[in-house]
């Protein structure tokens, strides 16, 4: 198989990778914010429920979580889900997992906000939600952007775990091609594709960081 053919096959599979990546980000970023609110709640029960959630999601392997989400319905509840469930299970697994990580990042950003900001906002007559969305959140985003970039880049590479429930994304394809071609070339090419994509992601995040540092 010519290198161009391998690249083509890998690129097709890469679309699945990008799909998983974008959907996970789209859903996990907002969900993470909600979870972080729960985690910082004044109500002890709510706080502890979310603490346990974060602890389990971060404390067990993502691969295991994917298997639970996919095979769980059958083994626990005897529910037979349609074939399309494979991809949905991947997204559910990834979103639940990454939301936990994002929640902790949001929390670190929000809790590092100086009390003075809240006091000044109160003095100026901002309501609670106005304070949060207009004063606090922009500052939080600026502060956590490097951590978020880290997680985002990790996400791109974690998509290769989707194979444990038989969703073919780029790394799986590279493995299959390497087996059938008896060569390492597919791995090298897939590594290159991952790198280029991550480079673009990092460049975009850097641009965002620059554009948000309007005080510097």
């Amino acid at each position: 198989m010519a290198i161009t053919d391998i690249l083509l096959a890998l690129s097709e599979a890469f679309l699945t990778t990008v799909n998983i990546f974008l959907l996970t980000l789209l859903l996990a970023l907002p969900l993470g914010l909600i979870i972080s609110f729960g985690r910082m709640s004044k109500n002890a029960l709510v706080r502890n429920i979310f603490k346990i959630y974060i602890s389990i999601m971060r404390g067990t392997p993502l691969m295991l979580q994917l298997m639970m989400v996919y095979f769980g319905p059958y083994y626990l509840f005897q529910i037979q889900l349609p074939r399309g469930y494979r991809f949905i299970a991947v997204i559910i697994g990834f979103v639940l997992n990454y939301a936990a990580y994002f929640a902790e990042i949001y929390r670190s950003g929000i809790e590092s906000m100086p009390e003075g900001q809240y006091e000044a906002a109160k003095l100026l007559g901002y309501s609670k939600s106005q304070t949060f969305f207009r004063i606090i959140l922009p500052q939080v985003i600026k502060r956590i952007l490097p951590s978020i970039t880290n997680e985002v880049i990790t996400l791109v590479k974690d998509t290769s775990l989707a194979f444990v429930i038989s969703v073919t994304e780029m790394f799986t394809q590279a493995k299959a091609l390497a087996s059938s071609q008896f060569s390492m070339m597919p791995y090298i090419l897939s590594g290159a594709i991952y790198y280029v994509f991550n480079f673009i992601v990092a460049a975009i995040m850097e641009k965002i960081e620059k554009s948000m540092s309007y005080y510097k």
Partner: protein, 275 residues
């Protein structure tokens, strides 16, 4: 606090109750029940979903044109055609194969699937090929017999027949320095090539194909085999209806010479055992 707990518990009970009911309805309506073996039951109407390991040439792998190909794939294609099903090829993670089959995501496992040692776990067709589990070593390793494997690092694929065969032979296993598992045979061969392992135990048919196609190192197969066994197609326990259908199709293909044709194409001669 108590009220919340009671509410949550009640919800759970209702949910599991509903789930139980809905599967029963499905059973009555769509013949998808896997209790009554007499009925024909594929997981999806009209489709025959074959689960296979896509890292397993020559039985199932990605061909030059980017499509799935291999001896087992072609045999499955011919069978699906004969039975009038639409063939769906589903690559699976080999160590998740049982879960995929159990939970109804695939109809059968079909790729160099060894019957020997797994008789009780699945509904099997009659064997369509005989095979041996052999040891692959580098040509210059100096290992010639099973005895030479003493103190060596031996690799097997996770959940493979080779793994079971070695575990069944305690004496042999105890002579090894270590038994390592790999996820797929490509990794296995890479380990072997660079000396991380000394031997790889695997299916002879696959071993010979791999050796013939790997130009970068010289491997040999030890004369002393690990075990003899047979390949079959595995179905979920209880799914005798589909199994019998596929069995009949295979026998018809054998009678018409189609199986021999596929075998010659891949192995140069007819090594199948279906009559």
């Amino acid at each position: 606090m108590k009220k919340i707990m009671i509410l949550v518990l009640a919800l759970l009970v209702v949910l599991t109750g509903c789930a139980g009911n809905s599967t029963k309805d499905d059973d009555e309506n769509s013949d998808k029940t896997l209790e009554t073996g007499a009925l024909l039951h594929t997981v999806e109407e009209g489709k025959f979903i074959v689960g296979f390991d896509q890292d397993f040439p020559p039985m199932g792998f990605i061909g030059e044109d980017g499509e799935f190909t291999g001896f087992d794939i072609e045999l499955a294609k011919a069978t699906a055609e004969k039975l009038g099903y639409e063939l769906v090829l589903q690559p699976i993670a080999w160590d998740a194969k049982d879960m995929e089959l159990e939970s109804g995501n695939i109809d059968c496992i079909w790729n160099g699937f060894t019957i020997t040692g797994r008789e009780e776990g699945y509904e099997w067709t009659k064997a369509y090929m005989a095979n041996q589990q052999v040891f692959v070593v580098k040509a210059d390793s100096g290992i010639k017999t099973k005895a030479d494997l003493a103190g060596k690092v031996v690799a097997v694929q996770t959940d493979s027949a080779a793994q079971s065969a070695i575990h069944a032979d305690k004496e042999l296993l105890d002579t090894f320095a270590e038994l390592v598992t790999v996820a797929d045979y490509n990794t296995g061969f890479l380990d072997l090539m660079q000396g991380a392992t000394d031997a790889l135990a695997m299916d002879e048919i696959v071993a010979r194909y791999q050796i013939a196609n790997r130009a970068d190192a010289d491997f040999i197969v030890l004369d002393e085999a690990l075990s003899s066994e047979e390949y079959g197609v595995g179905f979920k326990k209880g799914n005798t209806g589909l199994r019998d259908q596929v069995q009949t199709a295979l026998e018809e293909l054998a009678a018409s010479g189609k199986i021999a044709e596929i075998s010659v194409k891949w192995f140069g001669k007819d090594i199948t055992t279906i009559k």
